[in-house]
Amino acid sequence: MTFVEARRRLEGKDRGLRDKRMPAGDAARLVQDGNHVAIGGCLYSRTPLVTLREILRLRRVDLTLSRNLMCYEGELFLVAGATRSLVTSWIGIGLPWGLSRIVREFVESGQARLEEWSHLALGLRYRAAAMGIPFLPTLSMLGSDLLGRTSARTMICPFTGETLCLVPALFPDVAVIHVHRADCFGNAQIDGYPHMDPDLAAAAATVILSAEEIVSTDEIRRTADRTVIPFFTVDAVVEAPFGAYPHECYGRYEADLEHIGGYARGVTAGGAAAVRAYLDEYVYGLDTFDAYLERFGTGRLRRQQQAAQELTR
């Protein structure tokens, strides 16, 4: 999609100041088969799992997923058959757990395509889209083999004569983002790490936002300096306490590393079958997000909340 088409698509959309609250299951329906879905957060930080679960439950197919660092959601989507195409700079569960067995199986056998960019290059692709322009120049990826295996190009700078790498704007069909608080219109605030999320919101044609809490617009107005996603980029607002669990939400709850570690060990031992069992247990087998959280238990959730308070004190 060219930047002109992306602009026209945005102009054709209702961007009105309307109450956009809806259940995660309804929001997920904004994702169509074949869409490019950009995922907010980074690795196991602020992953929008509440919405991603619902997209999986809808059995969408032929999706392309992009994310700066991809965690186990990439494995879930691969094994569920929802995607065969990943765009990222890094994929794994986390350093202590080694290589992703699922990514290895899918990529090494040619069942999935992994398009690799450098971290900054991917960030600048979203940034260029967020700026409404076709590309941005950088020195990143010059001299690397990433350059020739992506749609990046080089040019001679017309001002200095130096070689530059140009990364094309990436306009996702849908961005799925989890934040700390938002009002019913989608004005959203993030505590702690913003990752690439403000750029994702402006780059995508459709934005599904989930929030730990829905607050009044007055509350947003009182701390407007903290608002990093404006309502006019947002299409759906999902109220979802613990919406990133078992991943972390800065200051709210720590990542459940025991759970993630258990998952990783299961996959190392059992491969795709272990991921299928995980999908059955935590995605397909639990109809509501409340039921999903009950599966972890309030004691565990409370413990992770306390850990987060200690870590950000």
């Binding site: 980074c42 690795l43 930080s45 960030g123 020195l139 001299g143 295996r149 690439m196 870590l311």
Partner: protein
């Protein structure tokens, strides 16, 4: 106290970091080395990590295992977006960058993407993350890794992070105007690059290691500097500090 291989890496790397500088560190050995430097000779060292953290403090027993989790943000002075963090690097604010890799060649080119042909790799590795950006934009780069024959090879299968490419001025000719890969630190030795050919050269040995041992574990011809030094072994104090930081030995294995 006897140092494990990874303790040796962290202690050796920490000595390269001067006070009042800014280091772009990753989790694991780079973060341990940076925290150790701060506790010893470089109290004003600022640690930056790619998840978007400026000025983090590492707490004993609470070592982050990812660059973008809450532990990494502990007492930070700023939490910029990831893109902004790397743009500060591109602008030239960061003095040091640390990298490791699955494969390294004599010119300091690093592979963290794929082993074998890229279209149908024998092993799909996690990928660049910020490694390609760090080696491009930081002012001085340190490569820190275990010294193994399968890792130190004549030609990497894929250049994720460009070192001196084919040597001489190839890096400059590719458009990489900044960043100098100065030092390779391993559990066996310290290597630097010939100022003209930009090829790796053995400069110093870890305590008790012989030149033959280094050659045995290097898969390419490694010339020797006219005078090969011996690196000081980590002190008990340094080892105690590292073990205090990482009591569960997540990274000090």
């Amino acid at each position: 106290m006897a140092a494990s291989a990874s303790e040796l890496l962290a202690a050796t790397a920490s000595r390269l970091l001067a006070d009042h500088k800014i280091v772009f560190a990753g989790v694991g050995t780079p973060l341990l080395a940076s925290a150790l430097a701060k506790s010893t000779h470089a109290p004003h060292l600022t640690i930056v990590v790619e998840g978007g953290v400026v000025g983090l403090e590492v707490l004993p027993g609470r070592l982050p295992i990812s660059t973008n989790e809450m532990r990494a943000g502990r007492r930070a002075v700023m939490l910029p977006s990831i893109t902004q963090t790397f743009l500060y690097a591109q602008r030239g604010f960061f003095d040091y960058g640390f990298l490791g890799g699955a494969q390294i060649d004599p010119h300091g080119n690093i592979n963290t993407s794929v082993i074998g042909p890229p279209d149908r790799p024998q092993v799909r590795l996690p990928g660049s993350g910020g490694a390609c950006d760090i080696i491009t934009h930081c002012r001085e780069i340190f490569i820190v890794t275990m010294h193994e024959r399968r890792r130190f090879i004549e030609q990497v299968d894929f250049i994720t992070s460009p070192g001196y490419l084919g040597g001489h001025d190839a890096r400059r000719r590719a458009g990489l105007l900044f960043g100098e890969i100065t030092t390779v630190i391993t559990n066996l030795a310290l290597m630097r690059f010939d100022s003209e050919t930009r090829r790796m050269r053995l400069d110093a040995l870890q305590a008790g290691v012989t030149i033959d041992q280094v050659h045995e574990q290097t898969g390419f011809d490694l010339p020797i500097a006219p005078k090969v030094g011996e690196l000081p072994a980590p002190s008990d104090e340094e080892l105690r500090f590292l073990r205090l930081l990482d009591p569960d030995r997540l990274f000090l294995s």
